[in-house]
Symmetry: C2
C-alpha cells in the first residue's frame, strides 16, 4: 500500500471504489473526496443499478461531501477519480469550486476536455496517477462484456 | 393559459416550477419533462435547500423521469427548462439522450454553449419560449437580493 496522504494512496482508495462498481456490473469508476486531510466522501458509478445517468462516481461523492461538511462549496477539497471526468461531472466540479482534481486514466472520447467543458478557473488538476491500473479495470470490464 | 400540448403550455408549467424555487429563496429555474404527451417529471432548483450543487431543476427532472419510465434513456422525451442548461445539465441531457430540449431564457455566461459543452448529436433544441418571463423571474430575484 502507498504511504498515507499521497495522491497514489487516495487513488488506490478510488480504485477500490471502482472495483465495487465493477462487481455490480457497473462501468468501474470510483471516486474519493479529501478535505482537511480526511476522506469526507467515497462513491462509485451506479448508473445501471439506479437507472440514472446522473449517478456517476463524482456526482455522488460531491453530494456526499457537501452533506459531510454542511455546505455546497468544496473549495478546500481534492477529488480523486479513476477516470477523467465527463462534462456533466466537470460542471458539478465547477459549481462546487473543488480546489483540485486528480484523475487516473484519461478519457479521450467522453472526458470533459474532449467535450469542451470547463472546470472552475481556480481548480488545479493532476492526471495519470495509477493510470494503467485505472484504465485496465475499464478495458477488462468491456472485454468481459463481449 | 396556452393551449395544451404546445411548447408555451409546457414552458408555463416549467415557469410555475421556477416560481416555487424562487419562493424558497432559490434562483428561480424550473423544468418539466414530457414523454408520450404526458408530463413525466417536474423539478425546480434546490441547490440552497439541499446544499448540493447538483440539485439543478434539470438534474432532478432527469432522475425523476427515469424513475417514472423505469429506464435511464429518455430518447422520446422533451425537456422544458426556463433557463439554458449549464454544462453539467447538458452532460446529463447528453447521457440520457433526451430527444429535444426547449429553454426559455439564454444564459450567455454559464449556459452550456458559452462553457463549450455539448448535447447528444441526436438532440434537437428550441430556445426563446416565454423567454421574457423566464428571464424577468431571474433578474427580479437578483434585484430583490441586493
Amino acid at each position: 500500500m502507498e504511504n498515507f496522504g499521497t495522491d497514489e494512496y487516495f487513488m488506490r482508495l478510488a480504485l477500490s471504489e471502482a472495483k465495487s462498481a465493477g462487481e455490480k456490473g457497473e462501468i468501474p469508476v470510483g471516486a474519493v473526496i479529501v478535505g482537511g486531510g480526511r476522506i469526507i466522501a467515497r462513491g462509485h458509478n451506479l448508473t445501471e443499478t439506479l437507472q440514472d445517468v446522473t449517478a456517476h462516481a463524482e456526482m455522488q461523492s460531491i453530494t456526499s461531501a457537501a452533506q459531510c461538511i454542511g455546505g455546497k462549496y468544496l473549495t478546500d477539497c481534492t477529488l480523486y477519480v479513476t477516470l477523467e471526468p465527463c462534462q456533466m461531472c466537470a460542471g458539478a466540479i465547477y459549481w462546487a469550486q473543488i480546489s483540485r482534481v486528480v484523475w487516473g486514466a484519461d478519457d479521450p472520447k467522453r472526458g470533459y476536455r474532449a467535450m469542451g467543458g470547463h472546470l472552475h478557473p481556480k481548480t488545479t488538476t493532476t492526471n495519470g496517477i495509477l493510470a494503467t491500473e485505472c484504465e485496465k479495470l475499464i478495458t477488462d470490464f468491456f472485454k468481459n462484456k463481449r
